[in-house]
Amino acid sequence: MEEASVQQAHVHAPPEGFLRKHVFSLDHKVIGKQYYALALVAVFTGMILSWLMRIHMVWPNAKIPLLEHLTSAGAPGGIITPEYYLSLLTMHGTLMVFFVLTNAPFAAFGNYFLPIQIGAEDMAFPRFNMMSFWTTFLAWVVLMLAFVIPDGPPIAGWTSYAPLSAVGKDAGPGMEWGMSLWGISIAIFCVASLLGSLNFIATTLDLRAKGMTFMRMPLCTWAWFITSCIALLAFAVLLPACILLILDRHAGTSFYIPANLVISDRLQPHAGGSPLLWQHLFWFFGHPEVYIAILPSMGIVSHVLVNSLRKPLLSSRVVIYSMMSIGFLSYMVWGHHMFLSGMNPMSALAFSFPTLTITIPATVLTLIWLGSLYGSNLQITSASLFALGFISMFVAGGVSGFFLAQPSIDIYLHATYFVVGHFHMVMGVASLFGVFAGTYFWFPKMTGRMMSETLGKVHFWITFVGAYCIFMPFHYLGLIGNVRRYQSFVDDFMQPFLGVHKFVTFAALITGAAQFIFLFNLIYSRFKGKPAPDNPWNATSLEWSIPSPPPWNNFGGKHPIVYHDPFQYGVKGSKGDFVMQDSPEQVIGASGD
């Protein structure tokens, strides 16, 4: 079955015909772009859902004209019902976590650049690669179906806690077929991610070009490699969890559903299941998932920084080890999502310490990035701006982790907007900044055209300031005990703070609107941007040693030989202050480390 290996894919002539070239292509570059496109669709869908939520939250009786035509049940007369708010929330979370944060920084860029950066012609298993994308696509279609079925999308949140998610229609609108679609979609997504990770790992292990030792791999390649190891483990656990969920819903089993539940006046015909089982399985996946989202961005940001600093990081080796230990620790902390779920209070402390410990490698990374700025020739480009913005966001979102990692404080802050602010900043905004940095940095290579720097900078300024305006106030609202996942704030104590929510909504609308500048920049530059040279940023890694866009077999059938690590900046090279990985010249006056 692994016969679908590199030679077959690429030994003979390039693919012919539209379908083979652009749709069912085996070319990792096309597949990477497909992932990126899917993520793009998903991220804008998710963003618009969040707009609807923000608007509904501050103007609960607002009539949203178009909406009533889209969903008469969800928004009678254009007024969003409480359950439809929860549907929006569930779909927003699911789309963003799975189809954006997992796809964009990892699957999309990883697919496109991992093989090139290690000097390979393609992924180890191009056919698997194509399968994993189309499986992901299928998962997305199945999920989106929930919007069109009469039952509507599920209302159980992206964490889909059992038994709410497991009992079926009695749990409320959207919980009959909407919830099933969710479970099936995520199960399919797991399979796709497993195939993808397998491919990444095999590729990194086996297809490195001559001289491409592990320590000579660019930092983003490292990040993708580590991420694929995490993903392999995480999704291999989420898949069984989903299978059990589906069985509970449709085969009458009781894995998650205990006895004597009376829901909608009906005694549920189940017994003996354990709701905590779902939480354990889910968070065993769920916490590593946070790092599946953020690690690739760390890699991309490091990759972009090295280039725009024009000097190596203080130590790339330390960066690699830090990312490894983050990946490793991420498997020992899932319990910190369950401090209040009635697990043994002793184990709460047991989960608290490794959680706090993760801040050590995270801090090391931050300090390395900061320290590397010192004495550099920092070039300000859209890419580097977003990379620096990533650092700022990563710190902002990281420090709030200190609070939530402590069970005693979690008693008060759990399930408040503090948590929402925390994970949106560190997992959402930060990793999206990584994606933006990557986009502005690699777009010339991917399309052969430059993006508009001006638009890019406008995009950065609005997004950067906007993100703080949206998510910083969430922390404050958390402090006063503002509970998350509420569709409106009827409580008296909230009234004085509704202004804050209004402010956040306006910030969200503006920041969201700014993303259309980015979209326009993407599309416009794709066709009208000025042609890109092979190496516009004077970068060292292999992807810049080949034409932009690269030919279908990357290196034109030659196998590149690697002589240097990708950190040869600030040296006297023939082309300037850098030496490319595949240039045989000797490095004079190597700096750093």
Binding site: M1, E2, A124, F125, L198, L205, R216, A236, L247, D593
Partner: protein, 212 residues
Amino acid sequence: MSSRIPPAISAGIGAFGPVRASGPAAVAQAKRGSTSSSGIWVGVFAITMSFAAFTSALFVREGTSDWSHLALPGVLYLNTIVLLASSATLEHARRMMATVRAGQGTRKASAWVIITLLLGLGFCAGQVLAWEELQSQGIYLATNPNSSFFYLLTFLHALHVLVGIFVLVYLAGRLVASHTTLRRSLVDNTAVYWHFIGVLWVYLLLLCRMKL
């Protein structure tokens, strides 16, 4: 099996060279064959993980009151023998092809592969018998947690066996047509996967025996 660790991994481990060393390091690009071989090992690891997850789910669920003993159908033990036998026959075929030069002897090997194939199908048939026996006793997927786990685990395992069978069909086909281009790695990886399926089954059987 221990000798089947793909060279690339060991190469990789050895490859933590000095970061800023220049000039080509001693790592040649890994042979294509080993690509699929590290692939299969990663895959095996992933499958192991998900069955580990099922196992932990089983342990959690086991604590509850409605946990009752399940009498395993006797045919399962026969199936076990069949599956292990098929593992042996496939290994035999693999060795045969490893020794003889490509071209000659593949016909003999193909005979063994086909036997493996038949044994594999036999195993599946046996599993179906086992399910029917339980159902004749009125024990279905949702009857009790034990039966849920039994059907779930055996069914998922059977799925993996089927995947193996498809590969065996493909393999047998190419052997019978005595392709000279047939790559060793295909045979080796199929063997790895098939042995793994066998080991996994023995584990599941013991698990069901002890816990269900």
